[in-house]
């Protein structure tokens, strides 16, 4: 099965939740992908929830230990897309 990769807007939807279209511009802004999650206002619970949602939607396991090392949106996108490419 081919699975399309995860995009920054997918990640926005997963992290911001439904009704978050207003935040789309922030996610398009240069630099956002390399901004630490803590600076974007996401706490550890948000990242744990993100990991579970990614696992459900993309069938890519994101272990808790991995979450700790994925400090920015780009790190998450790279991690998931790499796993998808390997699958």
């Amino acid at each position: 099965m081919t699975m399309s990769g995860i995009t920054r807007q997918d990640l926005r939807r997963i992290l911001e939740g439904p009704g978050s279209e207003a935040d789309a511009a922030v996610w398009e802004a240069a630099g956002t992908l390399d901004t630490p999650f803590s600076d974007l206002g996401f706490d550890s619970l948000a990242l744990l929830e993100m990991a579970v949602r990614i696992e459900q939607e993309y069938t890519v396991a994101v272990p808790e230990e991995a979450v700790e090392n994925l400090a920015t949106p780009r790190a998450v996108l790279d991690f998931v897309n790499r796993r998808l490419a390997e699958a």
């Binding site: 911001e16 939740g17 439904p18 009704g19 978050s20 207003a22 935040d23 206002g41 619970l45 948000a46 744990l48 929830e49 579970v52 696992e55 459900q56």
Partner: protein, 407 residues
Amino acid sequence: MSPDALVVTGMSAIAPNGVGLEEYWAATLAGTSGIGALQRFDAGSYPVRLAGEADRFVASDHVPTRLITRTDRMTHLALAAAEWALADAGVDTQRLGEYDAAVVTANSSGGYEFGQREMQALWSQGPRSVGAYQSIAWFYAASTGQISIRHKFRGPCGVIASEQAGGIDAAAQAMRTVRAGTRLAVTGGTDASLSPWGFVSQLATGRLSERPDPRRAYVPFDTEACGYVPGEGGAMLVVESAAAASARGARRIYGQLRGSATTFDPRPGSGRPPALRRAIESALADAGVRASDIDVVFADGMGVPEYDAAEAAALTDVFGRHGVPVTVPKTMTGRLYAGGAALDVVTALLSVRDGVIPPSVSITRPVPDYGLDLVIGRPVRRTVRNALVVARGYGGFNAALVVGENT
């Protein structure tokens, strides 16, 4: 003005009959009730089908999207109410030190609506579908925590869960906190458990009214009292010392929080009397006022005959028969649990500000033996120097608070 006096410099209200302080107050003085058929879900198969819904509070108008999906409605109400109270107080939060401000709220039901959603996910899709935020969104301290995070208030924060008495108990804790040196405290309470699960849990107390007529369902101190109608909402207040308020040039002072007391009833069957009277007398003593100094009582008004009789006895023991005007504006909102007494404290301070006692509604046949001078149907113009707020929480909690004009 005593510099040590504790003053309220900002307030907000979210109630079934009005969203925002002045809208709520205008509706309350007009006797406009917010009690009606429950709309949040289909309650057709429940014995209770009325509620006081704050349905004109739309969370997305006031709370960031990200927080809406991660917190319960009770916290949406609390976040908005806290923000409005701080804005009303004109507090520049940027100028407060990290530990200068505290948040002490009351909560009684926890995040039922949020929790129900997660439980449904658990049962229908399995444990991996339960969101991580359930771990904090249901929690009694969720609103205190979210307000603290949002405004970066890291002074001595806390939550008090004593059901409908909580709004007073939280205010009392805020008073202690400010007396102990914290610059400012945000206090109050909200509850919003009008989801099916929350509703069922409330039904278990046996104290909810099953009468279908919204104009007669919640009639405390009435010969036809048959329980109460539940509601959602609450209120927040900003508390400072008079000296601190003056130092920052606070633009208004609604009044003082003069004194309070909390008691707990003896266990059922002990033969000892309920402890409500002691709470009232102790609050008067703490405030340094006599019974004759009280111009109006905002009663708990459970609407359950046994409890109405007990409250009436406590009030007439302290004030004498027909000794003081008594009002129950919550007849227009239903009982808001942790939000109830907080809203009564706000209402009492508005009463002090404007020199008017808001009415109770729906009561048509007061029990004569109770000996209460109830304010019914229309507001009464009267200088209010001191007002007593009385509240009781399920399980034996009693609390009383004296508020008064700023002197």
